[in-house]
Amino acid sequence: MFGLGGGTSSYREIEETDVILLWGSNARDTHPIFFHHVLKGVYNGARLFVIDPRRTSSAQWADVWLGVDVGADIALANAMAREIITAGLADDDFIAHATSNFAAYRESVEPYTLAYAEEVTGVPAAIIRETAHAYAKAERAQICWTLGITEHHNAVDNVLAIISLALLTGHVGRYGSGLNPLRGQNNVQGSGDMGALPDRLPGFQHVENTPLRENFERAWGASIPAKKGWNLTEMFEAMERGDLTALYVLGENPAQSEADQHRAIRLLKGLDILVVQDMLMNATAELADVVLPAAASWCESDGTVTNSERRVQRVRKAMDPPSGVRDDLTILCDVARSLGGDLGAPVAEDLWNELRSLSPFHAGMSYERIERLGGLQWPCYDDSHPGEMYLHGRLWERPVIGPRAPFSPVEYDPPVERLDDQYPLRLTTGRRLDSFNTGVQTASYTSPLRRGETIDLAPEDGQDLGVAEGETVRVCSRRGSVRAPVRFDSSLRPGLAFMTPHFPNEVATNELTIDATDPKSGTAEFKATAIRVEKIEAAIAQD
C-alpha cells in the first residue's frame, strides 16, 4: 500500500495497541500464533472488534462482533468513515499534510449513513457507530485482514476502503498503529518481494520503470520484457482465448484451488504442454505432461522466506529428499541449461547476495545478520540498518517525505451472485484450524479435530430444510453440485452456509464457487456463492 507491498506493522505492536479491528479474518484458526499476539494485546487492555459474517472462534474473543453480511464490507467501512467525519473525529492535521484526494473521498462516503449501512450490512447502527468512535479515538489502532476481504470480486476496493479509514484517523506510520494483511502461505510475501508478480522485479521494483529494469538487464546480461505480464486469472483467460498454450507450475495446485473447477481443469487439459514442479503429486501434477519432483523448500533445501511482518527468515535443509528428487534451484538451472542458458551452479546464498545487490530493501540482509538477529524486516538498506519495525513513518515528517498517501473513494458493490428463489442460501468458504488449503499437505497427518468435509448450516435453516445433522445432502450452485453431510453450526446466522476447500477429493467445494474475479488483483469471489441445499431423496425424485 502507498507503493509498498507489505503490511505496515510488527507483531509486537499488536500487543501494545489500544484497538484491534480483525476484519474478514478468523486468525484464531488460520493464523493461530499471530492470534497469540492479539490475545497479549487484549490482556494488555486493547479492545478487539471482529468483523465477520460468522461468529468465529476469533469473534468469541472480541469485545464486539460485527456480523456483517457477506460482501457488504465497503458499506460498513464507508459508514464508519462518514460517522468519523461527522462526529469531528478525523485527524484533520494528518489529512492535510500527509494525504491527498480527501475532498472526493468525503463526498463519496456522504450517502453511507448509519441507517443505510445497517440495512445493507445487517450490523446495527449503534454498533457501527461504536466501532467507528473506538477506532478513531484510540491512541493506537490496528486493522488486520485476510481472505474475507480479498476473496471477492472487488478485492482491491475492499482493501482501499480499509486503508482510507487509517488515513482518516492517522492510524498508520506510527508505533502501534497500522494496516496488516495476514498472509496465507509461508512465503506469499517473499515470493512477491522476489518478483513473482506480473508487474514486479525483485525488491518490489516495477518492471515498467525503465531505469530500474535496466539495472536488472545489466546484472543479468539479458533483456526483460518491458510490459507487465498476466496474473493467474488473466492466464486462465488467455488459455481460454488460446493465447497461452504452455504452463510451468511451481508449488501450486490450480486444478483444485481455482474457482469454477470444471473450467480450470478443462483449460489445463487444453494446454499444449503443462509442466508441474512440486514436492507432492497433486491434482494438477496428475494432468501434467512433465512432472519435476522437487525437494521441500522448508526442510530439504536452504533459502529464505518472508512472513506477514516483512521478516526475512532462514529455512534450512534438515533432511535429504527421497532419491531422484532435487531442489528447485538445481532443477531450474538444469531447465535453463537445456534452453541454452548457463546459470552456473549457484547455491541459495549466492542468489540471495545477487538480490541484495539489486534490491535496496534487502541490501543490508546478509545470511549472517539474518541468522544472528532472528530475521530482519525489510526495508533494510545497509549492513548497519536494523530493518523497519513499521512502514510509512515518512508520512509524519514535515514536510512529508515522498508522495502523499491518496484517499481512494470506493462504492459498495454486492456479490456478483445474488440470492433468489432457486439459490436462496449464501455459501461462504474458509479454513479450519487443522487443515490447509486443498489439503495436499495436511491430509497426511491424523488430526483428532478433523471431521471431514461438511456443509455447515445454521440450525434454523437445517430445520426449515428438514435435514438432520450428519445427513448427506446435495449442494447446488449455478455451476455444479456436490454431496456433503450436514453439520449444524450456531456461529452461522440463518441464510449463511459454510464449506472449506480442504477435502477436494471427497467434496469438490470449488465446483460450486464462482470465478467472478476482481479485475485489479485477479482474486476470485470464493467468499460469496449462491446455493441451494436439497435432500437427496428429493433430488433423486427431481432427476
Partner: protein
C-alpha cells in the same frame, strides 16, 4: 487541503512506478529506565534495575539457581520450591523465580538451609514420581545429593483413572513402609500425544501454556488437593472430548516427559528412539504466513519431533497443530518409496 496541481501529480503511475523514498527509522517508544536497587547475594554486592527477580539478579553475578516450574515465557507459579533462597529477616525461604529485589536485601543461595530444602523437595518428587525422562531434575538430584530411596520402596501403582476419581478426605493413614507414588497407566487417547502422569511433578507449566500465558484454550487445570492433586481435563474426559486443540504447547514446556509426542513415545517403546543420533535444525513452518520458527528433530532422515525456540519473537516457543504435527506428508513419500522397494525385492 493540498492544491489541485499537487493532487494531479499524485497519479497512481507516480505512486507505483517509482520506489517510495526512505523515511526516518521507526522506533518503539522508550521505556522509562528503572532505578537501580542495591543488594548482597552470597556476600557479593550488586546493583540491578528495580523489578528484577532474585533469580536474574543471582544470574547477573554468575550464580545459577535450579528451577523446575519456572520458564521465562510463563508467569511464575511458585509451586516447585526448588529455587528457594535464604533472605535475611524472612522467616521462610523465598522463591527466587518470582521474588523481586528490594534495597539492602541480604541473600544466601547456597546456605545449608537452602541446600537441605532443595534436597528434600527433590527427594519428595523423586520418591513419588518417575523421573527417568527428566534429565534436568536428575542433574539437580546429583548436585544436592538427594536420596529418595530413604522414604522406602515405591508403593503400589494406582489403577487407570483411580487418581482421577479420588475423593477428598477418603484416605487411609499410610503404613509408612513404602513411598506413596503417583504411578498409573499411561493415558493414550489420540494419535498425536500421550500423557504419562506417573512422570508428572505438577509444575503447572502445561496448565500455564494451555491457559493465559500462551494458548488460551484452558483444556487442562489442576484438580484435587494435596497428594490427590493432578493435571486433568474437565471431568477427566479423554483429550478428544476436551477443549484441546492439539497445539502441543504443553509438551513444549513439560520438563519431565510426562507429556510426549506419540512419535517419541512409540519409538521409545520399540527401543528405536536415539537422541544421540538426532540432528536439530531451525527452519520456518511451511503453512500460513505468520512465519513460525521450528526446530526439527531428525533421526535417520525422518522428522521425529518439532519444537519452537523460546527466544523466537514470532512464536515465544509456541506452535499450532499444523506446525507441530503437520509434517507427516514429508515422510510418506519416503515410506512409500521404501515399501515399493521392499515389494520389488520380495517379488525377486
Amino acid at each position: 487541503m493540498p492544491p489541485e496541481s499537487e493532487e494531479a501529480a499524485l497519479t497512481p503511475t507516480w505512486q507505483f512506478l517509482n520506489p517510495v523514498p526512505r523515511g526516518p527509522l521507526p522506533t518503539a517508544p522508550e521505556e522509562a529506565p528503572q532505578p537501580e536497587v542495591e543488594l548482597t547475594i552470597d556476600g557479593q554486592e550488586t546493583s540491578v534495575p528495580a523489578g528484577t527477580t532474585l533469580l536474574h539478579a543471582a544470574q547477573r553475578v554468575g550464580i545459577e539457581t535450579p528451577t523446575l516450574c519456572y520458564l521465562e515465557s510463563l508467569t511464575p507459579v511458585n509451586v516447585c520450591r526448588v529455587c528457594v533462597v535464604e533472605l535475611e529477616g524472612s522467616r521462610t525461604l523465598v522463591p527466587a523465580c518470582s521474588r523481586k529485589v528490594e534495597p539492602g536485601m541480604q541473600v544466601q543461595t547456597d546456605s545449608p538451609r537452602v541446600r537441605l530444602s532443595r534436597r528434600m523437595v527433590l527427594e519428595f518428587l523423586a520418591s513419588s514420581v518417575d523421573v527417568s525422562t527428566a534429565p534436568e531434575l536428575q542433574a539437580y538430584m546429583e548436585e544436592y545429593e538427594a536420596e529418595p530411596e530413604r522414604y522406602g520402596p515405591p508403593g503400589p501403582a494406582t489403577a487407570a483413572d483411580e487418581r482421577d476419581n479420588a475423593v477428598p478426605g477418603h484416605h487411609a493413614a499410610p503404613a509408612g513402609d513404602a513411598a506413596h507414588t503417583v504411578e498409573q497407566p499411561v493415558k493414550i487417547d489420540n494419535e498425536l500425544y500421550i500423557r504419562d502422569y506417573s512422570k508428572c511433578i505438577l509444575c503447572y507449566k502445561c496448565v500455564e501454556a494451555c491457559g493465559e500465558d500462551a494458548q488460551n484454550t484452558f483444556a487442562i487445570a489442576v484438580a484435587g488437593r494435596g497428594f490427590d492433586a493432578r493435571i486433568s481435563t474437565e471431568y477427566a474426559v479423554p483429550l478428544p472430548d476436551s477443549a484441546c486443540v492439539y497445539c502441543g504447547n504443553c509438551i513444549g514446556v513439560c520438563p519431565t516427559g510426562a507429556l510426549m509426542f506419540r512419535s517419541e513415545y512409540d519409538m521409545r517403546a520399540t527401543g528405536t528412539w536415539d537422541e544421540t543420533a538426532h540432528s536439530e535444525t531451525d527452519t520456518i513452518c511451511s503453512y500460513c504466513g505468520v512465519g513460525c520458527s521450528l526446530t526439527l528433530h531428525v533421526q535417520d532422515n525422518e522428522i521425529v519431533k518439532v519444537m519452537s525456540p523460546l527466544e523466537s519473537d514470532v512464536t515465544k516457543g509456541n506452535l499450532c497443530i499444523k506446525g507441530r504435527f503437520g509434517w507427516q506428508f514429508m515422510q510418506q513419500p519416503k515410506k512409500q518409496a521404501e515399501e515399493t522397494q521392499d515389494d520389488a525385492q520380495s517379488l525377486d
